[in-house]
């Protein structure tokens, strides 16, 4: 089981790193294109389009890792005030919200990507083939579901861990 967790962690982290690199590349692209237009009067025509696609990549490549390290934003004001016996069912409900959202998103975005692949949709100005970028959308949320499942498994083992931590501290 531990190896499976590690593989998941690694996988989403590599995706995340690819997202970081997309971000750096996007910064550089916008910078270079701005200078090219100002200094040499020759803008990079496709820079806005490509920057947009990189922006999309940052988003979808990084969401699973950020979910994995629990850095997505939640409103936990209500949950904090709940009595502990209903905290668990509410927690399960919250996880279900993420999973159901992910499943609907995977289903629809896969359809969106697949249709675009069949008609080979291309970007307007530079004619970049779009489906390889679109596939990041379902991929991202498949990984989110995987991460959620991992969290759920860990959660079941968490009581055990808590006990160990408490023992260690005392």
């Amino acid at each position: 089981m531990k190896t499976a967790y590690k593989i998941i962690d690694k996988l989403v982290y590599w995706m995340f790193l690819a997202g970081v690199v997309s971000g750096i590349f996007m910064t550089a692209l916008v910078f270079v294109s701005t200078l090219m237009r100002y200094l040499f009067n020759s803008p990079v025509h496709f820079s806005n389009e490509l920057a947009g696609l990189l922006f999309l990549s940052i988003t979808f490549l990084t969401i699973p890792h950020v979910l994995n390290i629990d850095r997505h934003i939640k409103i936990d004001l209500v949950v904090k005030k709940l009595p502990s016996r209903i905290k668990n069912p509410v927690g399960v409900f919250a996880s279900m919200v993420m999973i159901i959202f992910s499943l609907v998103f995977i289903y629809e975005s896969w359809g969106f990507m697949n249709f675009s692949r069949l008609i080979s949709s291309r970007s307007d100005i530079s004619g970049i083939l779009l489906w390889p970028w679109m596939i990041l959308m379902p991929l991202s949320f498949v990984m989110c579901v995987v991460v959620k499942i991992k969290h759920a498994c860990l959660f079941r083992g968490a009581d055990e861990v808590n006990r160990l931590v408490v023992e260690e501290k005392s």
């Binding site: 237009r37 949709s121 100005i125 004619g127 779009l130």
Partner: protein, 322 residues
């Protein structure tokens, strides 16, 4: 829209045009006409300026799925999903406004056929007014030579290619960024529909205007999702078709109007715009030939369909010119 809720059938109509554009007024007229012809039984609920939250490049898919009933379709927006549609018509295609009316039936037929392939029924539409297209600059510029030292904002890939062939640096900048880009000098000129330039306050950020050619305006067709169309009674279908055709004929008759253009030009002059000489005949000639080359490139990129559409339309244009 209050009465809409008492109708037998209410159709949601998407339009991406801002309400300040004349096309939006014609869409409203269409809705009123349908209501009148059906004694209020059939209602068109028009959502202007994309207020249903839908974006133009998605419209073919959206109508195909039937997520909205009707839309004002403007062929140049769909190049992502249907690249052959961007081969139908291109700026620089015509040099005189009247040419537009002669090539219009061919274009309408092609659109009807192509949209039908997407499960969209076309029922007439708005023949957009043939506006003047000009170059609006911060400093005087009225020739291709002048433009070679400037940065020009254009609205499509075809225009980027056309200007590049002429040795002019052009860039697509979204309409919402155009004002700032001109104000600060990120670009020096905008290639734009002069007649409606005031609606986006172009006169505040450019002082000079020079006419190039009439707008090769792809007609804005009324498209009905087949999914909706099949739920309509024969009577309702006929009402829609008649109303669509009536608006088509009315707007066609209004499309070419030198007086309107002259008045609009006077109005822009009164706003402080200096009208320069139009681009010379030889410049327009050059522009047109570059535009045709760029047009053919785009058509080729769209594959066989694109190329055959290109051939059909350009053949028609040449035929008219002889």
């Amino acid at each position: 829209t209050a009465t809409a809720y008492s109708a037998d059938k209410v159709l949601k109509f998407h339009s991406g045009y801002a309400e300040s554009r004349p096309e939006a007024g014609f869409v409203n007229e269409f809705a009123e006409l349908v209501s009148k012809m059906s004694d209020g039984a059939l209602q068109i609920d028009v959502y202007h300026a994309g207020s249903l939250g839908l974006k133009e490049p998605d419209m073919l898919r959206i109508l195909q799925q039937g997520a909205v009933d009707m839309a004002l379709l403007y062929g140049e927006y769909y190049s992502r999903d249907a690249p052959e549609l961007s081969a139908v018509y291109a700026q620089g295609a015509i040099k005189e406004a009247e040419e537009h009316l002669e090539v219009l039936p061919t274009i309408r037929d092609i659109y009807a056929q192509e949209y039908a392939d997407w499960g969209i029924k076309t029922i007439g539409g708005v023949v957009s007014p043939v506006f003047d297209v000009g170059v609006h600059c911060k400093q005087p510029a009225s020739s291709i030579e002048d433009l070679k030292e400037r940065k020009v904002r254009v609205w499509s890939a075809h225009l980027v290619d056309t200007f590049t062939r002429l040795g002019v640096s052009a860039q697509v900048i979204p309409q919402n960024d155009m004002y700032m880009a001109l104000q600060t000098g990120v670009v020096d000129c905008a290639y734009y529909l002069s007649t409606v330039a005031e609606t986006v306050s172009l006169n505040e950020v450019t002082d000079f205007e020079s006419y190039i050619h009439p707008w090769a305006a792809a007609p804005a067709m009324f498209g009905v999702s087949m999914k909706t169309w099949e739920t309509l009674s024969e009577e309702q279908q006929q009402t829609l078709q008649e109303a669509g055709q009536e608006i088509w004929e009315k707007t066609r008759a209004l499309a070419v109007d030198p007086q309107r253009e002259a008045k609009a030009r006077e109005n822009r002059e009164s706003l402080g715009i200096t009208m320069l000489e139009p681009f010379s005949d030889s410049d327009v000639e050059q522009f047109q030939s570059a535009a045709f080359q760029a047009w053919e490139t785009i058509a080729k990129r769209a594959g066989e369909d694109g190329l055959s559409i290109f051939n059909e339309v350009t053949h028609k244009i040449q035929e008219n010119n002889q």
